[in-house]
């Protein structure tokens, strides 16, 4: 059971960027009809979800944060995790849509230790795969220009990385 936290330009960093939990920020203003109409949805969700933080910031009184995130239209909901903006929802959207977004973000950014480790490992594997693709492109180029020394060192790096990824996937499976 928690409530929507009213935040300001001054404590945005503390409350949102340094938050331990994935956090939703509702950018609103008292003269915005649709904002007033969706805000009760966030009150309900805040009471329901324990491992998610819900905040609201009045853009009229806190122009700095609104400018920083280039807000040009409200209601705007931004989602933050690990100190970064990770997603957004624009406009007065139905409750069901907000719920599925919150759930999706909770899955992407789990708060329990095992879950966090899993997400770190899988993003690591993903990164390695992308790097692997880049490496193979360079290998092709090295082959085309017949540069054996570069080709061989690329080959070595690739096979080492494949081994690392195998080990990482194994770890992920064990978790």
């Amino acid at each position: 059971m928690s409530k929507v936290v009213e935040i300001t330009d001054q404590n945005f960093e503390e409350e949102v960027l340094k938050s331990e939990l994935p956090t939703e920020v509702d950018f609103w203003a008292p003269w915005c009809g649709p904002c007033m109409m969706v805000s009760p949805i966030y009150d309900t969700l805040a009471e329901e979800y324990e491992n998610f933080k819900f905040c609201k910031i009045n853009v009229d009184e806190n122009p700095e944060t609104a400018t920083k995130y280039q807000i040009m239209s409200i209601p705007m909901q931004m989602f933050f995790a690990d100190g970064e903006k990770v997603d957004e929802l624009l406009g007065a959207v139905p409750e069901q849509m907000i719920r599925s977004k919150v759930q999706e973000i909770m899955q992407r950014f789990p708060t329990d230790e095992k879950g966090r480790l899993k997400s770190i490992l899988s993003s690591w594997i993903e990164h390695n795969k992308q790097d692997g693709e880049k490496l193979s492109k360079w290998m092709q180029k090295a082959q085309e220009i017949k540069n054996d020394s570069i080709y061989n060192s690329l080959l070595k790096t690739t096979s080492e990385m494949e081994k690392i990824n195998e080990r990482l996937s194994q770890l992920l499976g064990e978790l």
């Binding site: 203003a29 003269w31 915005c32 009809g33 649709p34 904002c35 007033m36 109409m37 969706v38 009760p40 949805i41 853009v59 009229d60 609104a66 280039q70 807000i71 040009m72 239209s73 409200i74 209601p75 705007m76 624009l90 406009g91 007065a92 959207v93 139905p94 409750e95 069901q96």
Partner: protein, 305 residues
Amino acid sequence: MEKLVIAGSGPAGLTAAIYSARANLSPLIFEGPGPGGQLTVSHEVENYPGLEQPISGMELMDRFRKQAERFGARFDSGVVENVSKGNDILKVQAGYKIVETRALIIATGAEARRLPIPSEKKFYGKGVSGCATCDGFFFKDKKVAVVGGGNTAVQDAVFLTRFASKVTVVHRREYLRADPVEVQKAKMNSKIEWMIPWVVEEILGKDRVTGAKLKNPESGEMFQLECDGIFVAIGHEPKTEVFKDVVETDEKGFIIVQFGGTRTSTDGVFACGNCCDQEYKQAVVAAGQGCMAAMEVERYLGIKE
């Protein structure tokens, strides 16, 4: 089993709620995606009877809602996604909820039409807006354009002069549909410029709007307008997609109701407000029709029992 479900929570839906709740029908209202309806984006309502001083559309709709609650109307934030009919029972689905009801009032209203160009979608929320009251604030001392020639467009233009340094109204026809009194207010405002008849061909910018490419439909001439914001107010279309299998609609999507009443082509289903009104589109008309719908439901259920 419900006696009455109402889809929509604008002036039509909430008036139907007030009347039917007072008649002890204990209606269940699915508020839909924009609780309070289109009026909630009006910063000032001047012409609703009984309001000596103008109030915001949001406050007016809040009063409607509280009045309905006082008589026992029940509210659900769901959006009706499907309706089916079997014998005398209607099944209404909203999200994971399925409700059986004897009668249904459709009061889902209309929604703002968007510009039919791909760049509008790309820049939505990045300079393109459908709500001047919500977003005008973000354009202090900037140049903006308003697209449209109806009341909303002209009122938006006047409202936006509070923030913007210059407001250009872009309208595709020579003549403005807006009320003469509104046009006069706008014509007297020195911050407003007029691009008539011009159409928006493309919205320009990289990450956010920096201008618009306009075309004169008569001469074929092109013009590049510099602006930071584009407010689209080119009319509305009825939100009736999910009801098309249950009730008859016309070619524009408006629900067809019996002349002078709210009965639709299906027994037990009634419609009121902007989802069936293409003529007046006024809150007071929608409210009046909401009242009619509630009374017709009362009569319909009375005969059935």
